[in-house]
């Protein structure tokens, strides 16, 4: 078991190195797309902490991306803040603002479970969208806010390759932090809550508190994703916080495989690639995306990351009926 874990880590590390080496040598369109996917996949991974590890399907995760993104845009355009070294402060603010919002929303949402949790997070997410859409003086309403340029501090982030490396760095650190988190005692307690919350309470866990902390952490990572997203896209608009963005994040996590972190990243890359490439080829690209979602949920409920496991099971069932037999005659 430990060995397979090591192999998985090696594969992910190799994939990261490959991205860091190959992408800068491609054309600017690909660099931009990958940067976008990396920024967004931080949000998807944060959602996976809730969905895959804690068993909380949040439909309002875009709100935290929105807070991070709007904070970045408003600070940059109204106060000329965050375009130099203070970019690092904006990162901190983005995380803190979003975590603070999650701390408030969590008080309302965490009491509910299942579909009620989903409905409450949806409603709260829509409140943020409503503010972004209506608060013209602050958010620019429907038009959103255009960022005039990316930060410059020693290095110039206006250069797409440099900026790619910065986003890649944040992505890699986020992945590492979240990986440690889900394997830590706290992260394991989240899995226990997903599996059987009542048992966790009886074992002495204050499950509400654990879920609340996880919700705030996920919000914080969402904020980081938002800051990066604002500078990646160069524009922040209500479209970033609208329900569809939350749904997208949820579907990306499910497509790749919830409860795997990396699955969400794969899902993000696939959806963004499909969307960008297909939309230039055919006008009915959304049907393709829809079909991908439907087929995944029907035939691969554990997502793309579940495929190796599936193949292994099938091979066992066909080749040596070793496993099922052992189960049938397990000593009781």
């Amino acid at each position: 078991m430990l060995k397979s874990q090591k192999i998985k880590i090696m594969i992910v590390a190799a994939a990261l190195v490959a991205i860091a080496v190959i992408v800068p040598n491609t054309n600017s369109f690909v660099i931009l797309l990958v940067t976008r996917a990396l920024a967004f996949s931080i949000l998807v991974m944060s959602l996976d902490i809730l969905l895959g590890y804690t068993g909380l399907a949040s439909l309002g995760q875009a709100a935290y991306l929105g807070v991070g993104a709007y904070a970045t845009a408003i600070l940059a355009t109204k106060y000329n803040f965050g375009l130099g070294w203070d970019f690092w402060l904006v990162i901190v603010f983005g995380i803190l603002f979003s975590a603070a919002l999650a701390a408030v929303f969590g008080l309302l949402a965490i009491r509910a479970t299942g579909v009620y949790f989903l409905m409450i997070t949806l409603a709260l997410g829509q409140c943020v969208w409503g503010l972004a859409y209506r608060w013209n003086s602050l958010t620019g309403g429907d038009n959103g806010i255009n960022l005039r340029g990316r930060p410059k501090f020693g290095i110039d982030l206006a250069n797409d390759v440099t900026f790619f490396y910065v986003v890649f760095g944040f992505f890699a650190v986020s992945l590492l932090l979240m990986y440690v988190l889900v394997r830590s005692p706290f992260g394991r307690s989240l899995s226990g809550i997903r599996e059987r919350e009542l048992r966790m309470q009886i074992l002495g866990y204050n499950t509400w508190l654990h879920k609340y902390i996880a919700f705030i952490i996920a919000g914080g990572f969402g904020g980081l994703s938002g800051v990066l997203w604002a500078h990646t896209a160069g524009i922040v608009s209500p479209e970033n916080v609208v329900l569809t963005t939350s749904v997208d994040a949820l579907l990306m996590a499910v497509l790749g495989g919830a409860g795997t972190l990396v699955g969400g990243v794969i899902g993000t890359f696939i959806v963004i690639a499909l969307r960008e490439y297909l939309s230039t080829l055919v006008p009915w690209w959304q049907y393709v995306l829809g079909a991908v979602y439907v087929l995944t949920i029907l035939y691969l409920p554990s997502g793309l990351m579940g495929i190796p496991e599936r193949i292994r099971q099938r091979r066992n069932a066909l080749g040596k009926p070793d496993d099922p037999k052992k189960l049938a005659t397990a000593p009781s």
Binding site: M1, V180, L181, R183, S184, P185, F186, G187, R188, S189, S191, G192, E195, R196, L198, R199, M200, Q201, I202, L203, G204, Y205, N206, T207, I213, I217, L327, A330, P331, S332
Partner: protein, 254 residues
């Protein structure tokens, strides 16, 4: 408190505990006392309120009236996890394990439940060797070592029932509440279960709900009969066996 002077503080005390769901009085005015090392069974026909009583004791439901005292402390309004921290553990009639986690992970979670390091998020759980040692020790005692990496959902029903108790013991409780540990077991497995229970630390107080009378008579020194939420009769196994009232509700007219 007087009893405290004699070192005789009851582990668990219920005072007039009641619970109604709308018009249904599931538990009515139950009063009982459990001392360290007591082995007490609660029996009664289906629907007598036994599991509801457990849910009141462990804080899963709020009680309608009455008090629950753990070591003399009134815990009536406390949530479950704080009661567990006082030294209480329970198992469930319907198996409540973590089905998609391995046997070892189940036990690790159970051990971590009462440690403050359960909030640590910057260090792998696998780096806590002391917790692993304890888990291995518990699994060895229950003869589970060879299956420690099996996901719990692949265990047999009998094994899952045993693991329920292992999880209960992981927090080193002073009192263990067992909700039908032998439910769904074959007679051979029930005997094994009774033997397993009798081997537990004699200082551990046990409150047991059980339908399997062989297990009850083997394990319990004292039995209370619950009927329509009320304690009908309490006494030694022999007294209960010979009680006309008890025979009536089990074999009797309705």
């Amino acid at each position: 408190m007087n009893t405290q002077k004699n070192g005789n503080l009851p582990v668990l005390e219920l005072k007039g505990l009641s619970k109604s769901f709308g018009g249904l009085h599931a538990v009515r005015d139950v009063t009982l006392k459990i001392m360290p090392g007591d082995r007490k069974a609660i029996i009664g026909p289906n629907g007598a309120g036994k599991t509801t009583l457990f849910n009141l004791i462990t804080g899963i439901f709020p009680s309608s009236s009455g008090q629950v005292l753990l070591f003399g402390q009134d815990v009536t309004s406390w949530p479950s996890h704080r009661r567990t921290a006082m030294g209480m553990a329970r198992t469930f009639q319907i198996t409540h394990l973590f089905p998609k986690l391995t046997v070892l992970d189940n036990v690790l979670l159970a051990i971590k439940g009462l440690r403050s390091s359960k909030f640590v998020m910057w260090r792998f759980l696998s780096s806590y060797s002391e917790v692993y040692d304890k888990a291995h020790h518990l699994l060895e005692q229950a003869a589970f070592m060879d299956r420690k990496d099996t996901e719990v959902r692949y265990l047999s029903h009998g094994e899952q029932r045993q693991l329920e108790i292992v999880l209960g013991l992981a927090s080193d409780p002073k009192i263990l509440l067992l909700d039908e540990p032998a439910a769904g077991l074959s007679s051979g497995e029930s005997t094994e279960m009774a033997e397993f229970l009798m081997k537990l630390d004699p200082k551990l107080a046990i409150l047991l709900i059980e339908h399997d009378m062989d297990v009850v008579f083997d394990v319990a020194h004292n039995i209370s009969v619950l009927h329509f939420g009320e304690v009908l009769e309490s006494g030694s196994p022999a007294q209960i066996r010979d009680s006309a009232k008890v025979q009536e509700i089990y074999l009797g007219t309705d």
